[in-house]
Structure formats: structure tokens, C-alpha cells
């Protein structure tokens, strides 16, 4: 049963990713083609899910939206992972005052509510993909860096690392060839779980008008567009909300399963 859910979640994720990559081929209409004669139309053979308040095809906007929302979430999580890991590696490997200083910075960044911080950074940098990436990475690198540092501290004392050093390997090559592969797995599990919260953050920011800007086809913007019309026609809200929920649900299920595989069931501390 659990296995089945895991594979179902993987399949859903695959569908979203495929939709994102092949949006041009899969989308029946242009996502931004306005048809003012046909606002909030019911589902029909021309528009499978109907149209939004400007007569734009909902299904096409969802498909293009998965390109924007899903890819941005993966990319932003990737950036966060890189930045956090780099700082964590340096911190754990260098030790001493540098480690103390960096850990202080980590504590500081974990001490600020992340939504507030992302919104503040976005507000100051202005909307756009680049600002979104910076804001997400700046607000959530600390968690990754803490995990990497602790893993590095645990790994660096192992005998084979000592052996590699005795053989004359430099710090950089030890870090890349021995330490990183060892800590990759827990890091990826953490990143998998983070993709879900990132997609929500990005959608929330676009919803507030701080992330991507209308008329981009993005789930957050679709929800923002829907807020004036959902009372009349619930589907304009339901469609992007369902996509976001389905995406996060599959990410949760995948992350749960990966975590269980990584450190066995029963211990509750790893649940978040």
C-alpha cells in the first residue's frame, strides 16, 4: 500500500514535469490568448477545463503554470542546496573561529520567520525570477548548511578520511571525493522535502504580487487572478489549487518514503 502510494506520487510528479517540459506540445491553446467574448466558460470540447475571467484556456495555463511553478521550485531548492552545502562544508571542515562565526550566522537566519524574510527581500529586490531565487535561497540555506556541517563533523573523523589524508590528498579532493558522496543521501532527502515548501512559498509570493508578475501563466498568479471571480465560478480557483495540492502531496509522500528508506521507521525526530 505504501509502496503503491510512493509510485503513484512519482507518477504524478513525472506528469507535472513532463507537462512543464512539453508545454508547447501538450497545451491545447496559447495560455495568454485572451477571448473576451468567452469569459468563465464551462468546460467544453474546445476548452477542456473551461476558461478564466479573460477567456483564457484554463488547462493550457495549468500546463504552462507547471513549467513555471514546478521548475522554479526545483531550481530554487537546487540553489538553496548548493549555497547551504557550500557554507556547511566550509564551516564543518574548517572548524575553529570560522565555524563558530558561520554557525552564529546560521542561528541568526533560522531566527527570522522565513515568509516574512522572503517577502522583505523580494520587496526590496523587485519582482522577477532572479529575485525569487535569491530570496528563497537567502531564507532557507541555513537548514541545509546545518545538516551538512553536522555530517561533515561526523565524517571527518572516520578512519578512511584519515587514510586519504595520510596518502597526501588535499582538503579539496577529500571534500569532493570522500566527504560529499557520504553526505549526499541525507541531503537529497532534505532537499526533496524542501521542494514542496518552496513551491508553496513561490506561489504565495506570486499571489501577493511580489514574485512573478501577471500575465505569466503560473499557479500562484492564477490563484491571485481567481480571487475576484471564484465566488461566481469556483473552478478558476479549484484548478490551480488542486495542482498545487497534488504536487505538494506527491512531494510529501516521496520524501516520507525516502526518509523511511534512509533511516528506518519508528524514530520520530526525522519526520520534519
Amino acid at each position: 500500500m505504501k509502496k503503491a502510494l510512493f509510485y503513484a506520487a512519482l507518477a504524478v510528479l513525472a506528469v507535472f514535469i513532463t507537462a512543464g517540459i512539453f508545454a508547447e506540445v501538450l497545451a491545447p491553446c496559447d495560455p495568454n490568448a485572451v477571448d473576451l467574448a468567452n469569459p468563465l466558460a464551462a468546460p467544453s470540447s474546445a476548452h477542456w477545463l473551461g476558461t478564466d475571467h479573460l477567456g483564457r484556456d484554463l488547462l493550457s495555463r495549468l500546463i504552462y503554470g507547471s513549467r513555471s511553478s514546478v521548475f522554479l521550485a526545483f531550481f530554487a531548492t537546487g540553489c538553496t542546496l548548493m549555497a547551504g552545502s557550500l557554507i556547511g562544508l566550509v564551516s564543518g571542515w574548517a572548524g575553529g573561529w570560522l565555524d563558530q562565526l558561520l554557525q552564529g550566522v546560521v542561528n541568526l537566519f533560522q531566527g527570522i520567520p522565513s515568509t516574512a524574510f522572503v517577502a522583505a527581500v523580494l520587496g526590496l529586490l523587485g519582482p522577477g525570477i532572479r529575485s525569487l531565487l535569491i530570496a528563497v535561497a537567502a531564507s532557507s540555506w541555513a537548514g541545509f548548511s546545518r545538516v551538512v556541517r553536522n555530517q561533515v563533523l561526523a565524517v571527518r573523523e572516520l578512519h578512511y578520511i584519515e587514510g586519504a589524508r595520510a596518502l597526501g590528498a588535499g582538503s579539496f579532493s577529500i571534500l569532493c571525493r570522500h566527504v560529499l558522496p557520504n553526505i549526499m543521501l541525507p541531503l537529497l532527502v532534505l532537499a526533496a522535502a524542501r521542494v514542496g515548501s518552496t513551491v508553496l512559498t513561490v506561489a504565495a509570493m506570486s499571489f501577493l504580487g511580489l514574485g512573478l508578475r501577471a500575465p505569466a501563466a503560473d499557479w500562484g498568479i492564477m490563484i491571485s487572478d481567481a480571487k475576484l471571480y471564484y465566488i461566481k465560478d469556483l473552478k478558476v480557483l479549484l484548478a490551480p489549487a488542486a495542482c498545487l495540492t497534488l504536487f505538494c502531496l506527491s512531494i510529501h509522500l516521496i520524501a516520507d518514503e525516502l526518509r523511511d528508506r534512509l533511516d528506518g521507521e519508528g524514530d520520530g525526530a526525522h519526520m520534519l
Partner: protein, 314 residues
Amino acid sequence: MGHILRYTGKKLLWTVPILLGITLLAFGLGLAARGDPAVNRASVDPDYVPTREEIQALREALGLTVPAPVQYGRWMAGVLRGDLGRSLMDDKPVLGEMLRLLPNTLILSGMALAVIAAAGIFGGVLLALFHGRFVDAAGRAVLVTVMSVPGFCLAYFLIWLFAQKLRVLPSSGAEGPLHFVLPCLAVSAASACAAARLLRASLLGELGRNYILTARAKGLGRGRLLLRHALRNALPPTVTHIASAFGGLLGGSMITEQIFSVPGIGSYALAAIQNRDYTALRGYVLFTGLVFVLVCLGCDLLCAWLNPQIRLGE
């Protein structure tokens, strides 16, 4: 009692550099802002184009001509006196405005926190009690699904259902307690589910330990075992989760307050962001950071009280 005081003192000392760092970060955010605050300030009236001299005069009046460290020093001197400066938009004191709006945000976050704690603990214990049975499986499916619904989507569904279709609850404003029901549900649902999931997992982990075996061998019932023995030891991770959820509530209030038209510090911050009012934004970041750090401190102390190993282990 001595070690708990020592633990408290140590934790308190740790918050000092963090608070200092938060002031630096809040100040730095203002420096990194694009655009010139003096230009923004001068162009409040869209029909009026300010002259160069006027902008320069404003720049001096706002203290922007001195180097950044001096600006930080002046700002900090104000912060320590309880003066966060004046908003660039309406010239009102930032602290005063935030304190005026704070009660709504606090009521909302406090209610949400109570819901998260109560529902999370109740749900977690319930699922652990029914472990391996249908209730457990169904409950977990519901939890993970609700966790995946974005809060701002949930907010609109709640408005649609309770305010539009059933017409039982108001959808906007902050006039009475009923106005807080929907926003509170919208912000707390996901965190409450996450808390219940976490507690269930830690309870089940705890139930596998030897002291539980001993207690059971002495003939203790399942419910009593769970509530009197396992719960106390299983709580710390959940308490930590709930405390960090409070940070989410503070930041998330920006979205909720906007959707439900609640005048609070979240909507104040959003307006500050939209107007690039960096004085107000600095104040907001500093303020939420401070509140969050204090909540985390309280959470650490609560965990230390629940589990003596934590305070003795340090």
C-alpha cells in the same frame, strides 16, 4: 532548580548575539533596497515632480548622506530608546503603528497557535492509540492531504463555503471574535496536521522503549501508558515544531491578513513592501525577529522542563 536557572541563563545569553545579528540584517535589508528612499519619499504625490534640491534636502533630513555604519549607529540608538523611526509613506512612527496593529495579529496568531497545539496533540495521541488500525491509516491520509493544501487556497475555500454558501461566518474584518475563526483555521490547518503527524511518530518511537515495556509489565493500561509516560517524553520535537510554526504564523499573517482584510502588522508590512518603505520594513523584520526569538527561547525552556536530559546534557 539550580541547573534549570543555569540553563535559562545560558539560553538568554545566546539570544543577545542573535538579536544583534537581526538588527544588522534588518538594517542591511534597507541598504540593499533598490531605488532611492528620498526619491520615493518625495514622489508620494504622483502629480508632483520633485526638484534635485528638494531630493537632496530630503536625503539629508533622512540622514542618508552619512556613511552606512553611522546610519546603523543612529538607527540602533533609536531602537534602544524604542524609536524605530518614521514611516517614509505617512510619516507616522513605525513602532506606534505596529503596536496599534499588533493586537489583531497577536489574537490571530495566538488562536492559531492554540489550535495547532490542541489539535496536533489530540490528533497525534489519537492516531498513536489506534496504531495499525483503520482510524490510524485514514487519519494519516487526511493529515498528509490537508498538509499539502496551500494556506491561501484553503482561506478562499473557507470563505466560499462558510461566508458565501452557508453564510454562517464573516469573511473579512476584525470586529469580533467570529471574524477570527476563518483566518485562524486557514493558517493553522497545515501546521496542526504536521504537528499531529510528528507527535504520532515520536509517540510510536517512544512506545518501543524499555521503560514502556516495564510499565506495561507492571500492568499499566494502554491509554494511561501513552498519556502519563510516553507523551511527556515524546513532546519535545512537537513543541519545537509548534514554536517554529509560530514563526510561520507571524510571516504568514502577511497573506492571511490581506485575504481576510484584518488590519494587523502583516498587512502593514505588505503595504511597506509595496511602497518600498524601508524604515517600516526594517521595523517589521526587527520586531518579528524579536518575537520569534523569544518564542523559541520559551520553547527551549519548555522542552528542558519536559525532558531533564536536555538541560543536563548541555
